[in-house]
């Protein structure tokens, strides 16, 4: 008897859990996928705005946050499947529109609106072969120089006058590096990225390459040899490697660069505009300032290897409504509201002088970086593979596995093969 009751209870429990969730009321939904887990407020904003949109157009917005680790597999499975895919999604235009042809082209009026209202360096973001598909999402996705004010002062350096040239910067890094009794650095000037995926290492090295006047690929993105292994690139990588091996102002013994900066074991780090939120939360003892990156032969400028955009799925039965929603939120007011909620820089030029942006620690440095010439971009469908091949050469130099020239020659040949395949 007791056993029967237990079985019934278990069966009921199982049925309850397996039962489909209650069907929502008859509202139509635009489904938006994003892998930006780090920005829950930013994502939630779409749902809030969707409620407003629904009053006029009958569509609400449902946000699905996909874990970053493995999001590409999920996107690919769904977008190839045609149904069961999102109407709108966050991704890189050259990947999802260029490599896979999953995107709907942006209506001309909207394209014009966006082209006219974003900073110059962002205009190519969201475009593929001259046509706009994506809406750029993230301004400030370029590296800037975060410096530890206390460590600067201790070294007799003025944090209000950060180094402007690479030579001055290197001299400052030397003064900021403190060796222990065994000759190992107990504090380094620069927190260098040397571990993890080679794409990330390429991303962190590129500002140095650009400051040396080098570029990773030809302007038409069809050739690597002569660019990825140019004399300027070799010099840039030599400089980068020397930071670790010769000058010892950066150390491979330290783990990830963010932790080293947060632990006051490194005085300077190059990171994007979101980083100050991380420092405030994880290392509240660190007093920091943000400055523009130092220049060499050229200035690194504001450029991004990972240009995130909002895209519309070309097989979505709701794509007209999806574009309507994008049009609905394409204005300076919403841009400011959404980005402010998430704590990062708005995209529209009109907002760059808003009190919110002026009150940010990266206001001045962002302005300076935007004034620099726009650096080369590498929005190629195979950008991940190319950056991986290139990054392996950078890692090789940092770990003393070879000289910059032969490693870059090898990388360039590999990249050319990737470009041809």
């Amino acid at each position: 008897m007791r056993r029967g009751i237990s079985c019934s209870v278990l069966a009921a429990l199982l049925l309850w859990t397996l039962a489909p969730l209650p069907a929502p009321a008859q509202t139509k939904k635009l489904v938006y996928w994003t892998h930006w887990e780090q920005n829950p407020e930013f994502n939630k904003w779409y749902e809030v705005k969707g409620k407003e949109f629904a009053k006029k157009h009958g569509y609400e917005v449902e946000v699905v946050t996909v874990p970053y680790q493995g999001y590409e597999a999920k996107y690919l499975a769904a977008l190839m499947g045609k149904s069961g895919a999102p109407d709108m999604f966050n991704g890189m235009t050259h990947q999802w529109c260029g490599q896979y042809d999953f995107c709907d082209r942006m209506p001309a009026d909207l394209e014009k609106l966006w082209d006219e209202n974003i900073p110059k360096y962002m205009v190519p973001i969201g475009k593929w072969k001259g046509a706009r598909y994506g809406i750029p999402l993230e301004h400030g996705n370029f590296q800037q120089m975060y410096l530890d004010v206390d460590l600067f002062k201790k070294a007799g350096l003025d944090p209000d006058k950060p180094p402007k040239t690479l030579d001055d910067w290197l001299a400052a890094m030397k003064r900021l590096t403190i060796a222990d009794g065994k000759g190992e650095a107990s504090q380094v000037g620069f927190a260098i990225r040397h571990k993890g995926h080679p794409v990330g290492i390429t991303d962190k090295f590129l500002p140095f390459a650009h400051a040396f006047g080098a570029r990773m690929l030809s302007p038409d993105l069809e050739k690597a040899t002569g660019y990825a292994n140019s004399p300027d690139m070799v010099a840039a990588l030599q400089f980068f490697g020397d930071l670790v091996l010769k000058h010892k102002v950066a150390s491979l013994a330290l783990g990830n660069p963010e932790d080293a900066f947060g632990q006051k074991r490194a005085a300077v780090i190059f990171r994007e505009s979101w980083f100050f939120g991380w420092v405030r939360k994880n290392a509240p003892d660190v007093t920091f300032k943000v400055a523009a990156l130092p220049c060499g032969k050229a200035c690194p400028g504001a450029g991004a290897l990972f240009p995130w955009t909002n895209l519309i799925y070309k097989h979505s039965p709701n794509r007209q409504a999806a574009w309507e929603f994008m049009r609905f939120i394409s204005n300076a007011k919403d841009d400011l509201e959404q980005h402010q909620a998430a704590g990062f820089l708005p995209v529209w030029t009109a907002n760059l002088e808003s009190p919110y942006v002026k009150g940010r620690p990266d206001y001045q440095s962002t302005k300076e970086m935007l004034a620099q010439p726009v650096p080369p971009t590498y929005f190629h469908p195979k950008s991940n593979e190319l950056a991986t091949a290139f990054g392996e050469a950078v890692v090789g130099v940092l770990y003393g596995k070879g000289q910059p020239k032969p490693l870059l020659d090898e990388a360039a040949a590999k990249m050319d093969k990737i470009l041809k395949d």
Binding site: L14, T17, L18, P20, L21, V31, H35, W36, E37, Q38, P40, V64, T65, V66, P67, Y68, Q69, G70, A73, K74, L76, A77, A78, M80, G81, S83, G84, E258, D259, G262, Q263, K264, R265, E272, W274, W278, K281, N282, A283, P284, D285
Partner: protein
């Protein structure tokens, strides 16, 4: 004169040697214990580190020099935040449900298939068996897209049956059960057949009782595998209420950084059910590891 300098007889001469022998024996006796203790420490330390880190605030984790123990032992803020940020209780429930059903289902299908392959002769038996075993060599990633399309066609995306579908049958389980059932003496089965028992009756009353250790092995191993499954749930699940614990865990590792204080708290929560399973079925788990290691 000291005793050592005195002329020695046979007994005295042997004494130092036997003392050395005793010391050697004692050392040999202790050596395994020391090795086991060292091994235990190596295994235990990451768990300990995870647990103490889960009690630290984010800035404490960054502190230099590294501090092993947390400032406040009763700091449960990270656990609170885990539950505030994600419906983690629901994730645990989902994982428990999915892992239990997949383990039980694999048990049934694998045992039946194993019985068929071990005790019945039919044309193409070995070919079928090796074809099934061959599936083990196909990486799951390569079948994800077609599987996703099927689930979509069947309307099973973002549902429990959808998450469960690829896990209902275990190839490893078929192999394990076939090996286990093969050693059951056929005489018992023949005797039951002569006595008029049905094939299912034979399976249930004769075969199953004799392969209980293998069944327990499969149950535990499959439960743990499904509990740790990430890739398929990642692909098929959309809504937060359908997520499993592994998806909850990686949500604290984003594009830019890892929230160590939250990851460790979530990891502690996700380890607890497996730990409970281990404590309850310790004997079976050890046997499972040994059996799956030998036969898998």
């Amino acid at each position: 004169m000291s005793r050592a300098a005195a002329p020695v007889d046979g007994r005295l001469a042997q004494r130092p040697a036997s003392a050395r022998g005793r010391a050697g024996r004692v050392l040999l006796g202790w050596l395994p214990a020391v090795l086991v203790a060292g091994g235990a420490l190596v295994v235990f330390f990451p768990l300990f580190w995870m647990a103490v880190t889960s009690l630290k605030a984010a800035p404490e984790i960054q502190r230099v020099p590294l501090q092993v123990l947390p400032d406040r032992w009763l700091n449960l803020d990270n656990y609170r935040e885990v539950f505030q940020r994600q419906p983690f209780g629901r994730f645990l429930l989902n994982s428990a449900l999915v892992a239990s059903i997949s383990a039980l289902s694999s048990l049934v299908f694998s045992a039946l298939a194993g019985y068929g392959f071990a005790k019945f002769r039919f044309p193409g038996r070995d070919v079928f068996f090796f074809a099934i075993i061959g599936i083990l060599m196909v990486p799951f990633q390569s079948v994800v897209v077609p599987l996703y399309l099927w689930m979509n066609r069947l309307g099973l995306l973002d549902s429990y049956p959808g998450i469960l579908a690829p896990d209902l049958v275990s190839v490893f389980g078929v192999f394990l059960m076939r090996q286990a059932i093969e050693v059951v003496p056929s005489d018992y089965i023949d005797a039951a057949r002569i006595d008029g028992s049905s094939e299912l009756g034979i399976f249930w009353r004769v075969v199953v009782p004799m392969v209980k250790p293998a069944l327990a092995t499969l149950l535990i191993v499959k439960f743990m595998w499904t509990w740790n499954e990430l890739f398929w749930p990642l692909v098929i699940v959309n809504s937060p209420s359908m997520k499993v614990v592994t998806l909850g865990l990686i949500s604290f590792t984003n594009m830019y950084f890892i929230e160590y204080h939250l990851v460790t708290a979530a990891a502690v929560l996700s380890v607890l059910p497996i730990l409970a399973l281990f404590l309850v079925c310790q004997k079976w788990v050890v046997r499972a590891v040994v059996m799956s290691g030998l036969k898998g």
